[in-house]
């Protein structure tokens, strides 16, 4: 560092008169000192001492001052110290050899110093570039979204190079659109879309200082990973000299490479996410088809079978047979109706078409409606209702919340045996209404408390009982649309408790 700081001086005062003055002064001082004390020295030693200013100025100031030092040094040495003292004589011409030595030392030292200085500058520049790149890469890893990353790139490029920057990404069709920008060029003619497009398609740099499309004041760098061009980095280089530009181009390209990798990372992440989603929806479609084809065909089989039986064997059927078949038809049709209702509910939830018609509703009222709807199936269950006396009204869509309650009560019946108990409770705590339905049915396996609310998911023990796996998913959709939550708890004894939380406002 000492050396580099010492050498740094050279570049700063390369063209000033100060080095010459300093050299003259140094030689003057040296001469006076030597005149005072050094007359006893041998001539060779004095000559060597006069090399010092030459070395110094060569290392510090380069060619000019060092050659000057050599000349002045030789003249001073000859004039003050070579006998006859204080005069030049013809015989002194032999000291031209000394001058040649001084000169060689000056040139050699200056050359070495210059090379060293260039190396120092270069490594300093490289260090700055690396730091800038490292900085950019760190900023980009911190951002997870494409917009954030693009912003980070242009801001950083502008901050580092002081050049207004844009990033253009391919848009719909054959167009390129500016996705991020930083810095305001003095004359904003915008980005030339044709060049942009060309760079995007060919993956080559274009614009000022690149040998292509030299007429523009901008430089277009492809953001390229392997063979894929992700976008184009555009820089406004108005007012930059060719040499400086060439120097910067390396860094610009490094920025472009780094940016390309980051953009690629985000884009690939997005693609992977899409692939995952489509695989998921594929799985759901399959589940839906399996579930629906089974759930629709089973009751249809019951209906068609019973009806054809009644038509074809009319005379053979007793009144009791006939009634049995009619009940089969009715039950099958009702089952299909439930399925269709749930499917429609699901479609509405999924498509975002569910609109809530909220109004103040009493929990007891909604519960009453739900209980009435399932009253036939509740005949063989003991239902215990436990409502807090002063329950505040809820602002909800009563039709939908009743559907939730009906689904849950139907489940409580479906998965429990005759003569078991169903306990219904409602209470308010800290601005939240808590509705619970607890049954003594088959319950749910441990770890399934969340998953039973997933679409088409059916717990292991539940699979032998017909169902689509839609009911609870719809319940969750509806309750969450109200800003509430729904959860399942395993009961200590047996069965399950479904807990619905709805905000009171």
């Amino acid at each position: 560092m000492q050396i580099s700081r010492f050498l740094q001086g050279t570049s700063r005062s390369r063209h000033g008169w100060l080095p010459y003055l300093a050299t003259t002064l140094a030689i003057g001082v040296l001469t006076i000192l030597l005149l005072r004390v050094g007359l006893s020295f041998q001539l060779a030693n004095i000559a060597l001492l006069f090399l010092l200013p030459v070395l110094f100025s060569a290392a510090r100031w380069g060619f000019g001052p060092s050659i000057y030092a050599a000349a002045v040094g030789v003249v001073a040495f000859d004039y003050f110290f070579v006998p006859p003292i204080f005069s030049f004589s013809v015989s002194d011409l032999r000291y031209l050899i000394s001058f040649a030595v001084f000169l060689s030392v000056a040139i050699l030292t200056a050359t070495l110093a210059l090379r060293l200085r260039m190396q120092v500058n270069e490594s300093r520049q490289r260090e700055a570039d690396t730091a800038a790149l490292y900085d950019l890469s760190r900023q980009m890893t911190a951002r997870g979204d494409l917009t954030g990353i693009l912003e980070a790139i242009v801001t950083h490029v502008y901050g580092t190079l002081r050049l207004p920057a844009w990033i253009a990404l391919p848009a719909d069709g054959d167009r390129m659109s500016i996705s991020a920008r930083a810095g305001q060029p003095p004359h904003d003619d915008g980005v030339d879309e044709t060049i942009c497009r060309w760079v995007y398609v060919h993956g080559d740099t274009a614009g000022r200082g690149t040998g292509r499309c030299e007429h523009t004041d901008q430089i277009y760098v492809p953001l390229k990973t392997e063979d894929v061009v992700r976008g184009v980095l555009v820089l406004d280089v108005r007012g930059q000299t060719g040499a400086l530009l060439a120097e910067r181009l390396r860094l610009i390209e490094a920025f472009a490479g780094l940016s390309a990798v980051s953009i690629a990372r985000i884009q690939l992440e997005k693609e992977a996410h899409m692939a995952r989603l489509s695989a998921e929806s594929e799985r759901l479609r399959t589940a839906l088809l399996d579930s629906i084809s089974h759930e629709l065909r089973t009751p249809l089989a019951g209906i068609i079978g019973s009806v054809t039986g009644m038509i074809e064997n009319e005379a053979m059927l007793t009144a009791e047979d006939r009634r049995d078949l009619l009940y089969t038809i009715r039950d099958s049709a009702m089952r299909m109706n439930r399925l269709v209702t749930n499917l429609l509910g699901m479609v509405r939830l999924e498509s975002g078409m569910l609109s809530l018609h909220k109004r103040a509703c009493d929990v007891s009222d909604m519960l009453g409606v739900a209980l009435r709807q399932v009253q036939d199936s509740l005949q063989h269950r003991t239902v215990e209702v436990n409502l807090q006396g002063d329950l505040p009204p809820l602002r909800v869509d009563d039709v939908l919340i009743e559907q939730v309650l009906v689904n849950i009560l139907s489940n409580a019946v479906k998965y429990s045996t005759d003569n078991s108990r169903i306990e219904i409770g409602a209470a308010e705590r800290d601005g939240t209404a808590i509705l619970t339905v607890a049954d003594e049915g088959i319950g749910i396996p441990e770890g399934d408390e969340e998953r039973i609310f997933d679409k088409f998911y059916r717990a292991e023990g539940a699979k032998k009982i017909p169902g689509t796996g839609l009911g609870l998913a719809i319940c969750r959709g509806i309750v969450e649309a109200h800003g509430g939550g729904i959860a399942a708890e395993r009961r200590a004894s047996r069965g399950v408790r479904i807990v619905i939380r709805l905000p009171v406002d």
């Binding site: 519960l367 009204p393 039709v399």
Partner: protein, 228 residues
């Protein structure tokens, strides 16, 4: 010869079903497959009651009802579908007598038809109405349950009376609010309605959490069940 019922529905299967079952109940049937045909038919045939599907291909059910109501007070029962409560309320408020949601049970439809026909016959305001174990004596403003007098506040009584004179028919929130609270701000009154229904249930129902007399029709209104 029973009452003449006009069925306006574009679905042949539904018309056939209604024809067979309603004829079995002693009604005679007229059919229209479109709304415009139905309006004409009401004019020409003068049916005693119209069963109107809300999902007609040519006209909005609300429009069919409006055209019928321009000159006829024939009772109209609309066939609606679930998740279409807003339209159902609109047709009820603009003069339909009752509604039934598809798919429906035949017994339920016949009950609605009977209630609508009875109200249309303008049965002279019976002074005593009995629903289940509750008796409402309109002349004496007296309500009894199992022979025991129930004390109702004036508003509770008005509300019960509004439902009782329309026993068996659905009453929308708007209709009840208008009858009991008059021209008061609807939103505020709708809130009172909910509260007073709760109070009434506590007084007349055996189990207010599982009402059997005052039934909530989700998204539509209330219905006092008619046991006759």
């Amino acid at each position: 010869m029973g009452a003449r019922i006009l069925v306006v529905d574009d679905e042949l299967q539904i018309r056939k079903l209604l024809k067979v079952t309603l004829q079995a109940h002693g009604f005679s049937l007229l059919e229209s497959a479109t709304g415009s045909d139905g309006v004409v038919c009401v004019g020409m045939e003068r049916p005693d009651l119209v069963v109107l599907d809300l999902g007609l291909p040519d006209m909005d059910g609300t429009e069919v009802l409006r055209q019928i109501r321009e000159w006829s007070q024939v009772p109209v029962i609309v066939l609606s579908v679930r998740d279409n409560e807003a339209q159902t309320v609109a047709v009820l408020d603009s003069g339909a007598d009752d509604y039934i949601t598809k798919p429906f049970g035949m017994g339920e439809l016949v009950a609605r038809i009977r209630v609508a026909l009875r109200h249309a016959a303008h049965a002279p305001g019976e002074p005593v109405i009995t629903v289940g174990d509750v008796t409402i004596d309109l002349a004496r403003r007296l309500v009894e349950k199992d022979g025991q007098t129930i004390h109702l506040t004036p508003i509770e009584y008005d509300l019960l009376k509004a439902m009782a004179v329309n026993a068996g028919r659905v009453m929308t929130h708007h209709q009840l609010v208008r009858q009991v609270w008059g021209d008061q701000n609807y939103d505020a009154a709708a809130h009172y309605l909910r509260v007073y229904i709760g109070h009434l249930r506590k007084k007349v129902e055996n189990d207010p959490t599982r009402p059997t007399l005052i039934i909530t029709e989700p998204g539509i209104g209330y219905r006092l069940l008619d046991f006759s």
